[in-house]
């Protein structure tokens, strides 16, 4: 067995062990915790970068390591680094709980990394549950116990229901083909795809990932969880967790979707409802995090649009879109964390005067929102363009049209947020926002990345293309 294939996972397992140890000690300061986490995240990015081009299978073919999984692992590592980099205050989590916070973040990341490589139904299930359970506890982990319990319970109930449905789907498929290796299913499923037990089984299987990604009808947890958990936790769920969900969605659909007409139709319906619902609900939100939650739901709809094309172009678009969501959503949440005074969930009005309090953050927010709305020259434009082009190539003109209308609707509430940040006069305090120097560097880097990839997306598209080739 070639252990080098398993390097990133081993490294993150080690990180988990470190924080497990630390959480049992009492003497470690908040600062030390933060820097330990930050440094280990940076090393993690390096480890994932190094193992980007390795290739092979592990654990009796239940675990596949290829460019596709390694690319997503890199994204997850970068995402974890970004999230930890804004955890320097961690205002809404009790100081003594910080080691546990990092422990759970690392565990969730590890589980998600394994999820991207899993090609065995049970492995998938275990990884998914491991990451979900880490998140349930993360959500619960905040000073305000009552909110924490409330939110975590809602999240857990929805998640548990979704897993139950997914398990039922696994059972149906396993009942038909006595195999739980995706490789076997790939061969058998296309022949029986028209049988209700198979197609329903497939649909139910996907429900678990719908939950992760926040797709209708398993999207209910998103607004409550986003609003109710610590800002840093929300950031993690909105970025890293979404990337992992997209990764496994693409792999499942690509491997066993088998161009089932039924599945495509269902996915089309779900995609349209998801994006429309997300965008319409977002209009009515006053709370910034709730607004971003509904925006996440809408973006899940766009991603689904790329995936349901079941063509390499569509998958490339979806992979690209994962990067887009990671960067843009993170930038938005970074602003949320910065303007939140005591770790509370800020309202849209609280952005008032941001362009004077911190022009850099306001600029970053503007670019991120423009990117989410798909306005060039941001990375968001390239992402939407790829997905819409793929859909057009498949002849889904009406679908693209609906998506376009949705983009227009979404522009409305993104601009409302921008209006608050740029045009609204703050009610009382207009003292400048203190942005530490490292965060300034990070923000500038994000701005440059968002615009640069928007103008020169070729490298990333090629990488996504190459990764998608390993799916087939």
């Amino acid at each position: 067995m070639n252990w080098t294939l398993f390097q990133p996972e081993l490294y993150y397992f080690m990180v988990v062990m470190v924080f497990l140890t630390v959480s049992m000690l009492n003497s470690v300061s908040v600062k030390t915790n933060y820097y330990t986490a930050l440094i280990s995240a940076v090393i993690g990015v390096a480890v994932c970068t190094m193992s980007l081009r390795v290739n092979g299978t592990l654990f009796y073919n239940t675990y596949r390591v290829d460019l596709y999984s390694q690319l997503f692992k890199l994204m997850l590592a970068v995402g974890m680094f970004l999230v930890i980099s804004v955890c320097n205050k961690l205002k809404s989590v009790d100081d003594s709980r910080h080691p546990e916070f990092y422990l759970l973040v690392a565990t969730a990341t590890l589980a998600m990394m394994m999820l991207t490589s899993a090609v065995h139904l049970l492995t998938i299930y275990i990884c998914l549950e491991l990451s979900s359970y880490s998140l349930y506890i993360l959500v619960f982990l905040r000073k305000d116990q009552e909110t924490g319990v409330n939110t975590a319970l809602k999240y857990f109930l929805t998640g548990a229901s979704a897993s139950a449905v997914m398990l039922f789907g696994f059972a149906l498929v396993y009942g038909k083909f006595p195999s739980i290796y995706l490789a076997d299913l790939v061969e058998s499923i296309p022949r029986f795809i028209d049988q209700p037990s198979v197609s329903i089984g497939m649909l139910l299987m996907l429900c678990g990932f719908f939950f992760k990604l926040g797709v209708f009808p398993f999207h209910f947890w998103l607004p409550d969880t986003y609003e109710g958990s610590a800002n840093e936790t929300t950031t993690f769920i909105a970025t890293v967790s979404k990337v992992a969900a997209i990764a496994i969605m693409i792999r499942m659909v690509a491997l066993i979707g088998g161009n089932s007409v039924y599945l495509i139709k269902v996915l089309i319906g779900i995609s349209v409802i998801t994006m429309t619902l997300g965008n319409l609900c977002a209009i009515a939100q006053q709370d910034l995090k709730r607004l971003l939650a509904y925006s996440s739901i809408a973006h899940a709809g766009y991603v689904l649009l790329g995936i349901l094309c079941m063509s390499p172009n569509g998958y490339t678009g979806a992979v690209f879109y994962a990067v887009t969501i990671l960067l843009l959503k993170f930038t938005c949440f970074m602003v949320v964390i910065s303007i939140s005074k005591k770790g509370e969930s800020p309202s849209v009005d609280q952005l008032a005067g941001l362009h004077r309090r911190s022009p850099l953050l306001a600029l970053a927010l503007m670019l991120a929102l423009f990117g989410l709305a798909g306005i060039p020259p941001t990375i968001g434009f390239s992402g939407k363009l790829l997905i819409f082009t793929a859909a057009m190539n498949n002849g889904y003109f009406l679908l693209v049209f609906i998506a376009m209308v949705n983009v227009v609707i979404s522009l409305y509430y993104y601009l409302l947020v921008l209006k608050a940040a740029y045009l609204k006069e703050p009610v009382d305090d207009i003292q400048p926002l203190h942005v530490p120097f490292p965060q300034k560097v990070l923000t500038t880097a994000l701005i440059i990345t968002i615009v640069t990839i928007g103008i020169f997306p070729t490298y990333l598209i090629d990488l996504a293309d190459a990764a998608v080739k390993y799916l087939m």
Partner: protein, 639 residues
């Protein structure tokens, strides 16, 4: 014919002609707004450079170097190719020389005329901009490039007419010129699109080739040619879009000399000459052009007969002469039309510049007023203006005689004698109104009481103070133009030979047929001049013209045949009252209404939907399960 190298000396010269004025414009606008001397020096310097390269091109290609065309692909879309570059053939080189010579002279003249104007630098910037655009227009090898610069000279014209923008009438006149020429340009654009959609190419050389012309069906050909002629009507102020040009006289006089008589308005005629083979291919279109030219010529001649504003007289005369050129071209006389374009540019610029001296000196545009203040004491300009008027009237040996005779000859070759008759009447009227003005200026008479105060230039703010240096600067260009006016007629043969060797033979052939034509031409202009003498120049004459004796006719002529009134009515009742109102209503009710209701619907449904999300977890989970169940059931219908 086509060269791809930029190293060709002619191409380099062409670039050096067109590019420096643009650079001068940018530099003046950005850096030299406050440096009057530098701005003028830069503009005149680049103009001089353009003049030198133009003359170099004339000499080089005049001595037998074949025509050159340089093109680079600018836009490719499907099978439509748009190229940009420069074409150097006799037509473009002649026009280039005319443009650069007059530009240079007018800019030197302006040193005196505009000396005290606060917008001196801005004036030279616009002038340089105009020169760049006009030379690039002349050099264009494709219709699209020509169109781009056609619009840019239109912009320059707008800026220069409204140069004294603080004067309400000036800015109004600028707008009027812009809008009216735009009407024609829309037709021009449509014509180009028709050609483009049928040929996929707008290269002028190809449009003129027999193969392309044969490839078009006659209907399409006539339609596209007539649409392009619409652009010519707008730019050259022909009927029915002619009323903007008299109003354009609100600009400074040198501007009128340069843009609104010698060069820019001649761009329309130039375009006609450029596309002459294409136009000739459609006899219907040629007849329409002939008719439009004739109507414009006669109409504006009558207007010139009663005008008291010296610049308006020359403006009407410009339209009339442009109409005359179009008549010549439309009658098949390529050389006749272009030659008249060249001679006209010379003497009309001279007329305007001389008038500028009078206006500068007496601070009025009213000829009677000028005369009363002693216009004839300004000996030198008086002398030059008489030469120029004689050329305009067509008295030998001045340049106008030769070109006019050519056109009359061409008209006499047509089957229908009506055209020749119209030409003859036009020639008499031209002679009449030119000498009417001269005699009025020469003889301060009894008609003073009626001095029309409304046409005094109210240019006190632009202080026309004169000193000897400025008059000297204004005098030199006059002298040069007068020399050109006197001499250019004798180069008719060389001109026609260079321009089109075959046509010379034709012309000589035709001349044998009608040997009486020169005498007719001389007779016409002399009789016109005599008529003017009887009414205005004769000792004891009342200085009231025949047209002025009949109030109805006088009003008709003075009100420009009520064209402005008719346009105003049409504008108010048809455009504003009908079309605009319908569009505004549509915009407000249909477009805004539907968008607003869509937006309101989105917001309202968003509120309802997000309220639905406020329920407890049981309801949410239940609905999720129900939806999944329904989706699962759906598979039985699909499979």
């Amino acid at each position: 014919m086509t060269t791809t190298a930029f190293t060709h000396p002619s191409v380099l010269a062409a670039v050096l002609t067109a590019l420096p004025p643009f650079l001068a414009f940018v530099l003046i606008m950005l850096f030299l707004q406050r440096h009057r001397v530098l701005a003028a020096a830069l503009a005149i310097g680049t103009s001089g450079l353009s003049l030198c390269t133009a003359v170099y091109l004339l000499v080089r290609h005049g001595s037998g170097v074949p025509a050159v065309q340089y093109q680079a692909e600018w836009l490719v879309s499907g099978n439509i190719k748009i190229s940009a570059g420069a074409v150097l053939d006799p037509t473009s080189i002649f026009m280039l020389c005319v443009v650069t010579v007059i530009c240079f002279l007018v800019q030197v003249y302006s040193l005196g005329y505009m000396a005290k104007d606060p917008g001196f630098s801005r004036y030279y910037a616009y002038m340089a901009f105009f020169e760049g655009a006009m030379t690039a227009l002349v050099l264009s090898p494709s219709l699209l490039q020509l169109y781009v610069f056609w619009e840019l000279v239109g912009l320059a014209s707008y800026l220069l007419i409204g140069f004294w923008y603080e004067k309400f009438s000036a800015s109004e006149a600028g707008k009027k010129a812009f809008v009216m020429t735009r009407l024609g340009d829309v037709a021009f654009l449509l014509g180009m699109l028709v050609l483009l959609s049928h040929l996929g190419n707008l290269d002028i050389n190809e449009l003129n080739s027999a193969g392309v012309i044969n490839a078009l069906s006659p209907g399409v050909l006539t339609m596209s040619v007539l649409l392009i002629f619409g652009g010519i009507i707008g730019k050259s102020a022909q009927f029915p879009l002619l009323t903007w040009l008299p109003d354009a006289m609100e600009g400074p006089t040198p501007v009128s000399a340069l843009l609104h008589s010698a060069t820019m308005v001649a761009a329309g005629v130039f375009l006609f000459a450029r596309l002459f083979p294409l136009f000739s291919a459609s006899s219907t279109a040629m007849s329409v052009c002939l008719a439009i030219g004739t109507i414009s010529m006669l109409l504006t001649s009558t207007m010139a007969m009663v005008s008291r504003d010296i610049k308006k007289v020359w403006a009407y005369s410009t339209i009339s002469q442009l109409g005359f050129m179009i008549m010549g071209l439309a009658a098949g006389g390529f050389v006749a039309g272009t030659f008249h374009l060249t001679t006209h540019a010379g003497f009309k610029a001279l007329l305007f510049l001389c008038s500028g001296v009078f206006i500068h000196h007496y601070n009025t545009n009213d000829i009677f007023e000028m005369s009363r203040m002693g216009a004839k004491s300004l000996k030198i300009p008086m002398f030059f203006i008489i030469i120029a008027a004689a050329a305009l009237a067509g008295i030998p040996p001045f340049s106008g005689f030769f070109s006019k005779e050519l056109i009359l000859m061409q008209l006499s070759g047509l089957d229908n004698p009506l055209w020749l008759a119209a030409g003859v009447i036009g020639a008499i009227l031209t002679s009449y109104y030119s000498f009417r003005l001269i005699f009025i200026l020469l003889r301060p008479g009894a008609n003073m009481g009626a001095a029309d105060r409304s046409i005094r230039t109210n240019s006190n703010t632009h202080g026309h103070h004169h000193d000897s240096r400025s008059e000297w600067l204004m005098g030199l260009p006059l002298l040069f133009l007068a020399l050109v006016t006197v001499s250019i007629g004798f180069f008719q043969d060389q001109f026609s030979h260079l321009l089109s060797p075959e046509a010379t033979a034709d012309a000589a052939h035709a001349a044998e047929h009608i040997s009486w034509l020169p005498f007719l031409a001389v007779g016409l202009c002399v009789s016109g001049a005599l008529w003017a003498w009887v009414e205005y120049g004769r000792r004891g004459s009342a200085q009231i013209g025949i047209a002025e004796r009949l109030p109805v006719i006088r009003a008709l002529f003075a009100e420009r045949w009520y064209m402005d009134k008719i346009y105003r009515w049409l504008l108010d009742h048809v455009i504003y009252g009908g079309v605009s109102r319908a569009c505004a209503t549509n915009d407000k009710k249909v477009i805004d209404g539907s968008l607003d209701s869509f937006a309101r619907g989105a917001v309202d449904s968003g509120k309802i939907l997000s309220k639905l999300h406020m329920t407890n977890i049981q309801a949410k989970l239940m609905s999720a399960f129900v939806i999944i169940l329904l989706l699962a059931l759906y598979s039985f219908f699909e499979a």
